[in-house]
């Protein structure tokens, strides 16, 4: 009984973390048709920015409770600075190219950001454990969990609800849906597609950075931390269906539960269980769980 509970709780915590990152990846693909390989690097950027900002806050002798604000602020700054820089500086010039070419472009971007991070922050590791330890632990039956994990779940819920409301409940969201369905017709109807792309990519970057910023207190922030994240996020969005937000949520939950179940029951398969699920889903639903198959064009 205790094990099952542990599997569920661990799975949900892991899924929350995955969802925040995968949501950014899937929204960028849905709107812009770019499968962003640099997403993991943006995640790492968020973690570094959070570590630096929260560290500066603590060094200034301010109340440690403020570090939470610093984590969110870091994600915001990375999104607003780096997102438009990449979109305006690079992606704008490759729109309309083949999707695979776009993957390669973002792969090149991934290589560049990995080193840019090393040049700015050096190769040593950073720690900001204050936000993690500050709230203590909570007892869940026989198990003890850090309250910080609860914040992570809460953050994922907030992100999910905000995206849902933002896309279906606001005027701008409706413009976004129009662009997703048909870029050219939207442009012809007077929607500023370029601005929609800019906003979307900024949002995607912000979500990746938020994932990184919220992870920063729980790990040591080191070069290369985004390398594994990108393939995990790929697995999540491919399982759910590229470009589908409910798909990202369900994919994150599936991956989270599969991973925590394998960690608890058969630890040998932990690393590849996720990719096995991804391969299985692709074998039976080639476009993922939430996306209908597409007719072949002559």
């Amino acid at each position: 009984m205790g094990t099952i509970l542990a599997v569920l709780v661990d799975g949900v915590i892991y899924a929350s973390w995955l969802f925040i990152i995968a949501a950014g990846l899937t929204i960028v693909y849905g709107v812009m048709r770019i499968l962003n390989m640099a997403h993991g690097s943006l995640y790492a950027l968020g973690a570094y920015a959070a570590a630096s900002l929260a560290g500066a806050w603590l060094r200034a002798g301010l109340a440690p409770i403020g570090t939470y604000a610093m984590l969110v602020l870091a994600a915001g700054i990375v999104g607003v600075v780096v997102g438009p820089l990449i979109e305006r500086g690079l992606l704008r010039h490759v729109y309309g190219r083949d999707e695979v070419v776009l993957v390669l472009v973002t792969y090149a971007l991934f290589l560049m950001i990995e080193d840019a991070v090393k040049l700015v922050w050096g190769v040593e590791s950073y720690f900001v454990t204050e936000p993690y330890g500050l709230l203590g632990n909570v007892e869940l039956g026989p198990l003890s969990y850090p309250v910080y994990s609860g914040i992570l779940v809460l953050a994922a819920l907030v992100v999910g609800v905000a995206l849902r409301f933002g896309i279906y409940g606001t005027r701008y969201g409706k413009l976004l849906i129009a662009v997703i369905h048909d870029r050219e017709v939207s442009a012809a109807l007077g929607i500023n597609v370029n601005r929609v792309y800019l906003v979307t990519f900024t949002l995607g970057t912000m979500l990746a950075a938020l994932g990184g910023a919220l992870t920063a207190p729980t790990v040591s922030v080191v070069p290369g931390m985004g390398v594994e994240v990108i393939v995990l996020a790929f697995a999540v969005v491919v399982i759910g269906g590229l470009g589908s937000m409910p798909g990202a949520a369900l994919g994150a939950l599936i991956v989270g539960l599969v991973r925590s179940a394998s960690v608890h029951f058969i630890p040998q398969v932990e690393l590849f269980s996720i990719y096995l699920v991804m391969a299985l889903v692709l074998a039976f639903r080639p476009r993922g769980l939430f996306v209908a198959p597409e007719a072949r064009k002559i």
Partner: protein
Amino acid sequence: MSTFRRTTLGLAIALVALAAAAPLLPRWAMFLVIISLAKGLAALGLLLLMRTGLVSFGQGLYFATGAYAAGVAANSLHVGDAALMVLGGGAAAAGVAALLGLLLARYRAIFFAMLSLAFSMILYGLLVKTPALGSTDGFNVSPRTLLGLSLASGPGRYGIYGVAISSAFGCAVVLDRYLRSYLGRLAPAIRDNELRVEYMGASVRNVVHLNLVVAGALAGFGGAITALAVGHVDPEMAYWTTSGEFVFVAILSGTASVAAPFAGALVLEMLRSFAYEHAPNSWQLVMGAAMLAVILFLPDGLWSVFRRRRRAAT
């Protein structure tokens, strides 16, 4: 002279030049050439796939399969002969590709890329958690003989180098021949419009499947040669960044000529050893910028520069 003859002649000249240079090369340069040729073989497989319109982000799977198969052959099956180890590596990788191809041959574009990535990550996960294969550390591989000659002394020192250059030469010539055959010419047709290829009566899935197996075998040869040269195999060979490097080489060199991936890999390895010494932390930055420049300004790869000039001259 036909283009095939000209390509073969060019490759033969390169083979003779590399063989003649062997006694002059210091050990590190020889190692660099071997590794470049091994990676070039994997990129050569990608060239074939890219001509078919597919980009695989999982060639590391076959690379690692080839390397591990060579290692297992030497350590557990007591096959110490370098040539046999390379052949075994290629055969094992081709077998894995034939099996996975049953599924992979149905996918295109990014779904193909993602599924191949997933498969290579599955292998990575398996290798990391298999104590019999050394888990994360991998294990050492030591070839003892080449065609009966000892590799330890005398001319045997050049054995691995010889295996590398002759495998690269053989694979390049055979692949060039294949690309000019009926089946090989279907590849660009499939890339352009596979439905029309099917209307013409050819089986797209079979051709794609065959090309997957060929590409897998090439990556397997490359992996086995790497295992021989380094004397060690580890799971990193199956990690997606290894596959990404092959894609990088293939994009950089383009699909115009079978010689291009080898030239591309050689340039990359030389740049890398240079950059590691002088700017270890900005090496990937340069690599990424070079890749972007090629994608944006030379969509057919660096090799296309020669071709364009030649066309302009005639």
